[in-house]
């Protein structure tokens, strides 16, 4: 090792403070749930439905101009792209049916519900083109998600989260034991709730990309927990008489430098996305940075603490007779 930025042998009595950790975690989860219930989530068009149109800001097309000259109750904001250029970001749901022309007024309510968002999008884009003389190339991005799809996307996202969680639970329960699976999944839920809480607190846009970020955090969290679990099991096998608290402390200390190195390199890579990846990936990377920090914390203070409460021993067979736990040749 060229630089000793971490003492090689740490002896931090992690488990002595486990109740502090569990209380902190519970407070954070309760706060997150409270935030989501009171402040809500800033749902993007993927989940809320509606449209978003992005233009490059120029002297003749500014946020104020668009606000003034395009009717229909639009939310117009500015943003910066990865090259520092200013963008006009227009977000809207359905514009007033009277703006959409007489044919639209004749439709039934059901047809309106199906077509209103697409028709509103066409109206706004056409008005933009007329008012500011824009071409298709000037409209950088134009997404329009109807109410039917947005609801489905949200449901599918939640199902993906749920199924991934169940699969990981089963895998850990199969490879270790149910107490480890409970610990790992508790940590995973802890991280997911904490990250959603951050989304609510900072009002970061919650869209499909965010679901990807959440799943990454979940993957990372379990990955991190499993590394600690693996060490716990190994030490347990070596020292059968050692108290469980001590087993976990040793395991955590021994994996600590790995935990920080891997966490560090992953954080560096995500910081690069946050800084250089442009606005599309910004929300995702902020969430991932936070997720990796609490994921690292939770694998010690939540996952390991729960395993300690439920028992560190692998159930079913006595450890020494169990084949398959030896290192592979």
């Amino acid at each position: 090792m060229l630089i000793k930025y971490w003492p090689t042998e740490t002896k931090i009595p992690f488990m002595r403070y486990r109740y502090v950790g569990v209380v902190l975690s519970v407070i954070m989860m309760v706060a997150s749930v409270y935030l989501v219930m009171t402040r809500g989530l800033n749902l993007g068009v993927d989940f809320a439905g509606g449209s978003v149109v992005e233009l490059r800001q120029t002297d003749s097309v500014t946020v104020a101009d668009v606000r003034d000259r395009i009717p229909g109750g639009l939310t117009v904001n500015s943003a910066t792209d990865s090259n520092g250029a200013e963008l006009v970001v227009i977000r809207f749901g359905e514009v007033d049916a009277s703006l959409l022309g007489p044919e639209f007024a004749e439709l039934t309510d059901e047809e309106k519900a199906d077509r209103a968002s697409a028709a509103s999008n066409t109206f706004v884009v056409n008005t933009l083109k007329q008012e500011f003389g824009l071409t298709d190339q000037d409209i950088l991005r134009n997404d329009s998600v109807g109410p039917k799809v947005s609801g489905e996307l949200f449901r599918e996202g939640l199902i993906a989260l749920g199924v991934a969680t169940i699969m990981m639970f089963l895998y850990i329960a199969f490879r270790y034991s149910w107490s480890y699976a409970v610990g790992g999944i508790a940590a995973l839920i802890h991280d997911a709730i904490g990250t959603i809480g951050l989304f609510s607190l900072l009002q970061i846009q919650f869209d499909l990309t965010t679901i990807a970020a959440l799943l990454t955090i979940i993957g990372y969290s379990v990955n991190d927990s499993v590394v600690v679990f693996d060490r716990i099991r190994e030490i347990r096998r070596k020292y059968k008489q050692m108290p469980a608290t001590e087993v976990i402390d040793i395991a955590t200390n021994q994996t600590l430098s790995r935990t920080f190195l891997t966490g560090g390199t992953t954080l560096i890579a995500i910081l690069a996305i946050a800084i250089f990846g442009g606005p599309v990936l910004q929300g995702m990377s902020v969430a991932m940075i936070w997720g990796i920090i609490i994921g690292t914390y939770s694998s010690i203070y939540f996952a390991a603490a729960i395993v300690l409460m439920l028992g560190v021993d692998i159930n079913r067979k006595p450890v020494e007779d169990t084949p398959g736990f030896e290192a592979m040749p």
């Binding site: 090792m1 090259n83 134009n142 998600v145 990309t209 990807a212 379990v222 891997t262 390199t265 592979m328």
Partner: protein, 535 residues
């Protein structure tokens, strides 16, 4: 564990060379390379190259009601007078998914000929298309003393939807891409949705206009008496006729039953007339040509309307019988409109009007910006992680960096091999892999360090390091792989793109970190007789 026989070394090197060759087109322009080298770079998603994404739905209710109205036409001819049968008079009423046929003329005793009507209907009620069980298309039951209810069974409904989906797919492709040259992709989604991806297309409105037409083309004879038109405009339409309008012809009364229909058209294309104005050329098939000839022969002097989706496109006067089945429409359309109309007519009639649910458009300028920022983020991320690893582990860190680079190369090679699409979230997945891929190396190196501290020799330390870390690495990576696979199978759009690179990255990183790095380490130890690694 520490033995690397020659064949293993060759295998590992072979995989890496294959990776470099496959990934090469992404880094340099390969168009002039010799024939055996791959030339195709990884597919870029719409968010990276610009284009239109459209998700459309074929409303089941409309598929059914349009099938019912087609059935109503069949009923009309089944109930018509023939040599040995009396006509049955009726009024069809479409009510969403059912149709009520009300018989409108009782016999002398006041009875309606329901039994006779049911017999005739049974004859025209065919089996479910593509159905194996052999059920009938429609369920026909008696409703009161003068009515018959026609409905659709659920088996028949799903057959109709399946049929409508595949027909619509074909028609969408033929309308958007009549020459079959564009790189559009069409994917069915669920049982009544289609996703259209058109890279490079900047204008979603043009696509939507092309696809929202029914494409119902008919040739109808015209009643041109001004008195009849005036009375139709006043609300009294002559029976058997309909009042339609056209931008050039104004209101005209056309015969309800067309002489020639869309299915009689073989091809349609855009051409130019003598004055070099755009026109649409048709060729009718044999059956259509015969009907067209008969109609023009028997109706000299009359107007013959060409109607698309209930709009009269033109109504030329029949001067002489036209054999051969070649027809043209001239009108006030632009070249693009003529092209699009020709594509619509040639593609045929949609089984039902599609509804647009989800539309995403990215301009090519934004796409280029995104590639650039993703590329920049990857380079910076890679450089920082490399710096960090070398700082932490010295020589072993350099090995880890080699394996990291090999990992990225292999991800691109695997993307090419699978024909997967790289998206912006996919680039994020690669960058994340850069961060996480070193985990396996870190686990191994930490073990080696521990073993060396416990006084083991370098060979046993390295051996123990790799052996003991393997299970941890596999457990940790398999759980993440689960997440990635589930993301891929359940996710859509950006989630899928992210999942692909993440999953590939996990698989390749185990190979590069565990096999390639180990090979480098052992090679180094053998060559330089290393006594102790400074890690």
């Amino acid at each position: 564990m520490l033995q690397f026989p020659a064949w293993k070394v060759l295998l590992v090197l072979g995989v890496l060379v294959w990776g470099v060759v496959m990934a090469l087109p992404n880094a340099v322009n390969m168009s002039n390379a010799p024939g055996f080298m791959p030339k195709q770079a990884v597919n870029l998603g719409l968010d990276l190259r610009g284009g239109v994404y459209l998700e459309m739905e074929i409303p089941p209710a409309e598929v059914i009601s349009s099938r019912l109205s087609v059935f109503a036409r069949d009923v009309r001819s089944a109930f018509a007078r023939t040599a040995d049968r009396e006509p049955i008079y009726f009024q069809p009423e479409l009510r969403g998914r059912t149709m009520l046929i009300k018989l409108s003329r009782p016999d002398a005793d006041g009875n309606y000929p329901v039994e006779e009507a049911l017999r005739r209907l049974d004859r025209i009620n065919g089996p479910i298309e593509g159905g194996l069980a052999g059920g009938k298309t429609f369920e026909i039951t008696r409703a009161g003393q003068d009515g018959i209810l026609v409905s659709v069974s659920s088996a028949s409904e799903s057959a109709m939807l399946e049929d409508a989906l595949s027909k619509t797919m074909t028609i969408v492709r033929r309308r958007v891409d009549p020459e079959g040259v564009a790189e559009i992709s069409l994917t069915p989604s669920g049982n009544n949705r289609i996703v259209l991806e058109a890279p490079g297309e900047p204008d979603p409105e043009r696509l939507k206009t092309l696809l929202s037409r029914d494409g119902r083309m008919t040739f109808n004879l015209v009643e041109s008496s001004p008195a009849e038109i005036a009375s139709a405009q006043a609300g009294i339409v002559k029976p058997g006729y309909r009042l339609l309008e056209g931008p050039e012809t104004g209101p005209l009364l056309v015969r309800e039953i067309p002489e020639v229909v869309g299915s009689d058209i073989a091809t349609a294309s855009q051409g130019n007339d003598e004055a070099n104005r755009p026109q649409i050329n048709f060729r009718l098939n044999a059956n259509g040509a015969r009907k067209f000839y008969e109609t023009t022969r028997n109706n000299s002097g009359q107007l013959f309307a060409i109607v698309l989706d209930d709009v009269i496109m033109s109504a030329p006067r029949i001067n002489e019988p036209i054999p051969g089945g070649s027809v043209r429409i001239t009108g006030t359309f632009t070249m693009t409109e003529a092209q699009d109309l020709a594509a619509i007519i040639a593609a045929g009639e949609m089984p039902a009007k599609v509804q647009f649910l989800d539309q995403r458009v990215v301009s090519s300028t934004l796409g280029e910006d995104s590639i650039e920022s993703g590329y920049r983020a990857a380079i910076v991320g890679l450089a920082l992680v490399a710096f960090f690893m070398i700082l932490a582990y010295g020589l072993q860190g350099i090995f880890a960096v080699f394996s990291l680079v090999a990992n990225i190369v292999l991800i691109f090679a695997a993307l090419s091999l699978l024909g997967a699409t790289l998206t912006l979230p996919g680039i994020a997945g690669i960058i994340l892999t850069i961060g996480m891929a070193v985990d396996a190396n870190v686990l191994v190196f930490e073990r080696i360090r521990e073993e060396q501290q416990n006084g083991r020799s370098v060979w046993t330390a390295v051996q123990a390091g790799y052996e003991r870390a393997l299970i941890t690495i596999l457990d940790a990576n398999i759980t993440t792989l689960f997440a990635a696979v589930i993301l891929y199978s359940l996710g859509s759009g950006p989630v899928k793109g992210f999942a692909v690179t993440l999953a590939l990255g996990i698989i390749t990183s185990v190979f590069t970190a565990f096999v390639f790095t180990r090979m480098l380490t052992i090679f180094w130890m053998k060559t330089f007789k290393t006594k102790r690694f400074a890690i």
